[in-house]
């Protein structure tokens, strides 16, 4: 009996299960850090990201990503995964693992576009990202495309998943414009506090939990001492980077604003997780802690930059956490990789390759989502009306109240 394949399969399915649960984490983070009048809408977007994504990735996306490479650019279409593949584990196991990853990329976007995007438009966007945008970039990196040929290292997807989500989020949030009331007449950024710190925090814990499937699961094997050691190391690097990200974000906000900021600290943990995702299998624990430290600092600065300087309204910090820290983390592989990293005497070669990968994917994602969002904007419209936004998307898009029994405050934008 072939037990090695069983061990590998169990491992990948364990990973897939945890990564699936990240959907709950995203849903809680995104609702917790936005206003109560839009929670139902955000839930629906997350649910549809995953549901539509699961169906379309199975129907088409998967083969575009992992089908036989056409010129290193795109996989050959094989609708409904009917062909035969050899991924070392049963194709179905590989498919489900890839499905939950694809859905993660899509879900990232909803956070940055929260509280003002038309639901139907969002569903279409979500459909397209799972259909082509994500799978094609994924093909380059993991599907045998030109970036993998080049030696680009993105072990579990700082770029393939998080940056893709983050760049699409950037384009979406930019084209949408800020929420009403987010910037004063003088252009000064105002605070629109999230409605539940507890749910937001629960979401972060769930995401961290899910990351123990995301990163170690990406090893795709667990049989044999080497794999056992690898997945164990990935647990340690993943965890240390997250911990360092949280601690440094706390310290930094404490110094800068006088008090340790709760939601930034939570973002710091996520930044560490996103950052270490590319290199979790090739860096040392110390390298991981440094990656977490760097991304934990970057995320705070980046959130401020987008908010105060670029005036791009990203309610949950998705652009910074996933886009920026995903890119930084991928670059840092070129610095901290035990083999080939700048700090370990590997010179600039790997770093250069990493930069190429980060760039190409950024250009691709920004370009395609720009076109997509612009077309959607001009045709069915991207944004709800001012009245709908003010009264809440739950009421207007879905006819419900998220918290029917609670007396809500109707004014939550603060000077």
């Amino acid at each position: 009996m072939d037990l090695a394949i069983s061990i590998d399969t169990i491992w990948v399915l364990f990973g897939a299960t945890l990564v699936f649960f990240m959907q709950a984490g995203f849903a809680m983070v995104e609702t917790g850090f936005t206003r109560s009048k839009n929670v139902g809408n955000i839930i629906m977007k997350n649910l549809m990201d995953f549901s539509i994504g699961s169906l379309i990735f199975w129907a088409v996306g998967f083969s575009i990503m992992y089908g036989e490479s056409i010129g290193g650019f795109i996989g050959k279409a094989d609708f409904f995964v009917r062909g035969s593949y050899d991924f070392g584990i049963p194709t179905a196991a590989f498919l489900i693992f890839q499905t939950v990853f694809a859905a993660t990329a899509a879900t990232i976007v909803s956070g940055a576009m929260a509280e003002r995007t038309k639901f139907i438009t969002y569903c279409i966007f979500s459909f397209v990202i799972s259909l082509v945008i994500y799978p094609i970039a994924g093909h380059w990196i993991w599907g045998g495309g030109f970036l993998s040929e080049l030696g680009f290292i993105d072990f579990a997807g700082s770029t393939a998943v998080h940056s893709v989500g983050g760049w699409a989020a950037l384009v979406g949030a930019m084209i949408l414009g800020p929420r009403i009331g987010k910037y004063g007449k003088d252009g000064k950024s105002k605070v629109i506090p999230g409605h539940s710190i507890t749910l937001g925090a629960l979401g972060v814990f769930i995401l961290w939990f899910g990351w123990f499937g995301f990163n170690p699961g990406s090893q795709l094997e667990a049989a044999g001492l080497e794999n056992a050691t690898a997945i164990s190391n990935i647990f340690v690097t993943t965890n240390l980077s997250a911990a360092a990200g949280a601690v440094i974000a706390m310290v930094y906000t404490w110094i800068k604003y006088g008090k340790p900021d709760v939601s930034m600290t939570l973002n710091g943990a996520l930044a560490g997780l996103v950052g270490v995702t590319a290199g979790c299998a090739v860096v040392s624990p110390t390298g991981a802690a440094l990656i977490g430290t760097i991304t934990g600092l970057v995320v705070v600065a980046s959130i401020e930059f987008f908010d105060h300087k670029l005036k791009i309204d990203d309610p949950v910090g998705a652009i910074s956490v996933h886009g920026i820290c995903g890119a930084i983390g991928t670059l840092l592989v070129g610095v901290f990789a035990l083999e080939g990293g700048l700090f370990y005497g590997g010179g600039f070669t790997q770093l250069g390759i990493q930069a190429i990968g980060v760039l190409t994917v950024a250009v691709w994602t920004i370009g395609t989502s720009f076109i997509l969002f612009k077309v959607l904007d001009k045709t069915i419209g991207l944004r709800v009306t001012a009245e709908e936004e003010l009264e809440g998307l739950d009421l207007h898009e879905h006819g419900i109240e998220g918290y029917a029994d609670f007396q809500m405050k109707t004014t939550t934008i603060v000077e």
Binding site: G181, L390, E391, L395, G399, I400, Q407, M408, K409, T410, T411, I413, E415
Partner: protein, 116 residues
């Protein structure tokens, strides 16, 4: 207590509150008490579906702002409120009441002295 003291109760949409507060500040009103309320009136509610069952939302969330004033003429308050809230149905109402006494608890001051 020589001058007349009035309570002005303004019921408006929550989304207009920030602007109203700023406008009131500009005419010298800094004290106010704000309550979250539900209101119905001329403004029509909506008919929605929840789990397949139709329902009418006729109580809409509003904000009630209470301002007790003496020196500031009531009409000033009415004016700035009107400027802020707009002209759709449901914009809101103002109710004015006589106040027979005001006391600032920490000092014991009474009347308009308690308001300034």
């Amino acid at each position: 207590m020589s001058e007349k003291i009035s309570k002005i109760e303004i019921v408006i949409k929550g989304s207009k509150f920030e602007e109203l507060k700023d406008a009131l500040n500009e005419i010298g009103i800094t004290g106010m008490t704000v309550t979250q309320v539900l209101g119905c009136g001329m403004q029509k509610g909506k008919t929605e579906f929840y789990r397949g069952t139709e329902y009418k939302i006729d109580l809409l969330p509003k904000v009630k702002v209470e301002v007790v004033v003496s020196s500031v003429p009531v009409d000033d308050v009415v004016r700035v409120a009107q400027e802020v809230v707009g002209t759709e149905v449901g914009s809101g109402k103002i109710f004015v009441y006589d106040v027979s006494e005001v006391i600032r608890l920490r000092t014991g001051e009474r009347g308009s002295a308690a308001l300034s």
